[in-house]
Amino acid sequence: MTFRWGLLLAAATVFLAGCATPPQASLPMGYRPFAEPGLRIGIAMSKLPKVDTRFPGAEWPLCHAAAALANAKLTAHARTLPADDLAGLKDDIAEALKLKGQLPVVIDEPLAVEQLPKTGSTARNAVSRDYSSLQSKYRLDKLLVVELTEVGISRPYSSYIPTGEPKGIVSGMFYMVNFTDHSYEWYLPVAQQKSAQGNWDEAPAFPGLSNAFFQAIEGARQAILQPLAN
């Protein structure tokens, strides 16, 4: 009996733990991050996701297989689209920080956020991962992270049926970590979705949809560069 109660308690703990760590809410960048000039600000970026298609709503294996088959040409094309403008984002951020009188430190290697130790902190705006290793390695005062999770073309599905036209997408988040108290000073979720103008179904080159993809990339770039320019 005690064993059963123990199991139940363990299951409840695991279940409720998910509720104990809500996702970080958007946090606007105030004046404070750049109030002091000459700060060493690291600029890191997670590994860019492969440009690909995704079909939200068609997660069940058979549905996904049907969606993948129906959009095979689109997927083949999406995988040829370059995301170079995102790859160069770190250098553009460095230029913007220089103009603000800061000392940007571009971190060349991709940042594997999921491999960093968890902090376990539940304080408001506290970082969920421990970035101290980067702080000591690069002697940083702050760290600006570009973490992109999806880059490509997304088409919504309801099981086997597409419920919308495909769109160019770039999703992820940008954030700035302050190492004095290990909190976020700026946290910006990004979800750029752009539609093709006019007809999208123009295989094999999909020019309208390709343009939408590049619009999403530029939208994501400006989402981070505009606040830094202000």
Partner: protein, 290 residues
């Protein structure tokens, strides 16, 4: 919907190399124009479908047997297709509401007036109505569609053209030319365009049409010089907002760029003003201000 047909046709044609002319066309050949037979000019509100078709929906198919499953699937597809079509119509209808203050002007604005304002008799580019064919020279058969930005500050033309040599039914050149005007900086845009029976709206529409035709005249007979890898994302002004187009640069002059987009369309777009215009952009020989 007609817009989609035009865009789709233009996209198809843009990728088609110009048909070989029966005889070489002299560089100084005379040009003439034809416009659609419809009475009124096709004017629309600029539309953005970024928010269309948001979010996946869930669907279960609790039907017995494979046949029942297929029937349920087909019914589901029909319902979803209908919803998507309805949603697009609603978005377009919403976008067109921006034109309500100009309805009186647009109801009396004909293709004939557009042609006369854009190319008066002295211009040497006669308008020969709809479906006519000139005795000599070159004909630009054009189907312009105008858009007003949602902030009412700028106009856009998408001019789908086919260039014919006299006596030939095969076009030498087909493409769509988009010209975006610079946003007007006034207190009340609707009043600005509508004053004096919509004089400014008519004039700007004619200026955009003229600019699109001049681009066709300059590029229809020129060999295409696409450069692989030259494409980049252009940021430009579309009304008071910034827009992005992936395109290949062709030229840049007086705060405007001429680019070739991924569909092969030629686009004349206003760039963000970083500095005061150069003196030659304000002189009498300057290109028309858009």
């Amino acid at each position: 919907m007609a817009c989609h047909h035009i865009i789709a046709l233009a996209a198809l044609l843009a990728g088609t190399p110009a048909a070989a002319a029966a005889e070489p066309v002299p560089a100084d050949a005379a040009w003439s124009l034809s416009l659609p037979a419809e009475e009124k000019i096709d004017f629309r509100g600029q539309v953005n479908f970024d928010k269309a078709g948001q979010g996946p929906g869930a669907m279960l198919y609790p039907t017995p047997g494979l046949a029942g499953f297929i029937v349920a699937l087909a019914a589901h597809a029909a319902v979803v297709k209908g919803q998507m079509k309805e949603q697009r119509s609603e978005i377009q209808a919403d976008a067109d509401r921006i034109l309500v203050p100009f309805r009186k002007t647009l109801d009396t604005f004909s293709y004939g007036e557009l042609a006369e304002r854009a190319f008066p008799a002295a211009s040497g580019v006669p308008w020969i109505g709809s479906g006519g064919r000139p005795q000599s020279g070159l004909l630009i058969a054009s189907s312009p569609v105008f858009y007003m930005t949602q902030d009412q500050s700028a106009l856009i033309i998408d001019n789908t053209v086919a260039v014919f040599q006299a006596g030939s039914e095969l076009p030498l050149y087909t493409n769509t030319v988009r010209v975006v005007s610079r946003a007007v900086e006034v207190e009340n845009e609707a009043v600005y365009w509508q004053r004096n029976d919509g004089q400014r709206l008519r004039e700007m529409s004619a200026a955009l049409y003229r600019a699109s035709v001049e681009i066709v005249r300059a590029h229809a007979l020129a060999p295409s010089t696409s450069t692989a890898g030259a494409q980049r994302s252009f940021r430009y002004q579309e009304g008071k907002s910034e827009a992005v187009e992936r395109a290949e640069p062709i030229s840049e002059q007086c705060g405007r760029a001429l680019v070739r987009n991924l569909r092969g369309w030629l686009m004349s777009i206003p760039l963000k003003r970083m500095r005061a215009p150069a003196p030659e952009c304000a002189g009498p020989a300057a290109p028309p201000a858009l």
